[in-house]
Symmetry: C2
Subunit: 208 residues, 2 copies
């Protein structure tokens, strides 16, 4: 089997989690069958686009009978490597880190926060939700020892690159970065950005 990660456009990969999310809601509604038309209506994506995206990975529905919700959901979880839980380090225990530590969806969706780090002595040793806050100095050792491959950065922009460098040096291969700065990252590491300002500014362009 050819490696899909080399042949499927990144923009297609970016839509798969949206399909998975829609299928999860359909599951909660106890729906058994859906169609590319229905998924498209829910997501604001054309049904042709959805069929084309899924065709990169195989044949998931029969002409005229639609998709089995549970089966397609399982297949997407497999494709996205979500069958096993991922351990995640959270760096930064400020307001945002606190909200993230409390966000139940991480655990529910298979991303288990296993360690929280901060460099503020007043925070180290305290609890953040159910997590103890560890000294950021201990981060490389803990990340390496536990084999943590994913991390969430929720520190100020001025610290984010140093944190990212330390994480990558310790074996992290995917970073969700909330700091409002573009990170310099080697090509074998994934990075995704969560900066609300960037998204707000993109919208104001369209407002007169």
């Amino acid at each position: 089997m050819p490696s899909a990660s080399k042949t499927v456009p990144d923009i297609v990969i970016g839509r798969l989690p949206l399909y998975l999310r829609a299928l999860t809601y359909l599951t909660e509604e106890r729906r058994e069958i859906t169609s590319s038309q229905e998924l498209g209506d829910r997501l604001g994506i054309s049904s042709a686009q959805i069929r084309k995206d899924l065709s990169h990975f195989g044949e998931f529905g029969k002409q005229g009978t639609g998709y089995n919700v549970l089966f397609l959901r399982q297949q997407l979880q497999r494709i996205l490597h979500l069958e096993d839980e991922w351990e995640v380090a959270l760096v930064g225990a400020g307001d945002l880190g606190q909200a993230l530590a409390h966000y139940q969806d991480f655990g529910r969706k298979g991303f288990r926060i296993v360690a929280v780090f901060d460099r503020n002595p007043q925070k180290i040793g305290k609890k953040l939700g159910k997590f103890e806050i560890f000294d950021a100095e201990a981060m490389p050792t803990i990340v390496k020892d536990q084999g943590i491959e994913m991390a969430i950065i929720a520190v100020p922009a001025s610290d984010a690159q140093d944190v990212a460098d330390a994480l990558i040096e310790s074996g992290v291969r995917a970073i969700l970065n909330y700091a409002p700065i573009t990170l310099s990252i080697p090509p074998f590491v994934q990075v995704e950005y969560m900066d609300p300002i960037i998204h707000l500014q993109r919208m104001t362009f369209y407002l007169a």
Copy 2:
């Protein structure tokens, strides 16, 4: 002058805030001149792409002398309609709403949160940072009366569509949605999504 919003690809618009952010950091570093090469290196975007993107809006640098940082920054602020402050409603005063209310960058970047809403009686009337939390019932009236055009949704997924409908009915034309659900939105309204799960799942595809 032709309307840029009709002729410039959306993907180009999406990169302009990144250019603006990089220019803002350069300003803080007291840099006066930059180049598409330097911007590209900072952003992981090719210099040719940056020059092409900017060329949609005019001529901002001279061959061989680069860009004046302040001038290009001003021009991008003008193009993105960031010369005046935008008033923003924040809906949802939970953990995430709290982190957002405390996030200083909104104000610094010209997005002033002017009202916070929640429907929880125990929260209404209390303070969230410097904001009083208003009853969500009053949202349509307040949003309409104040002419608020932008809103941030930080409520559970099950409430997000109703909140969006009420906001749009009251005149909101751009929504930053933190609820993990795709909203059904009329074409004259902008929407951007902030769901960390979607971004984490996009990265695990690339992890073996």
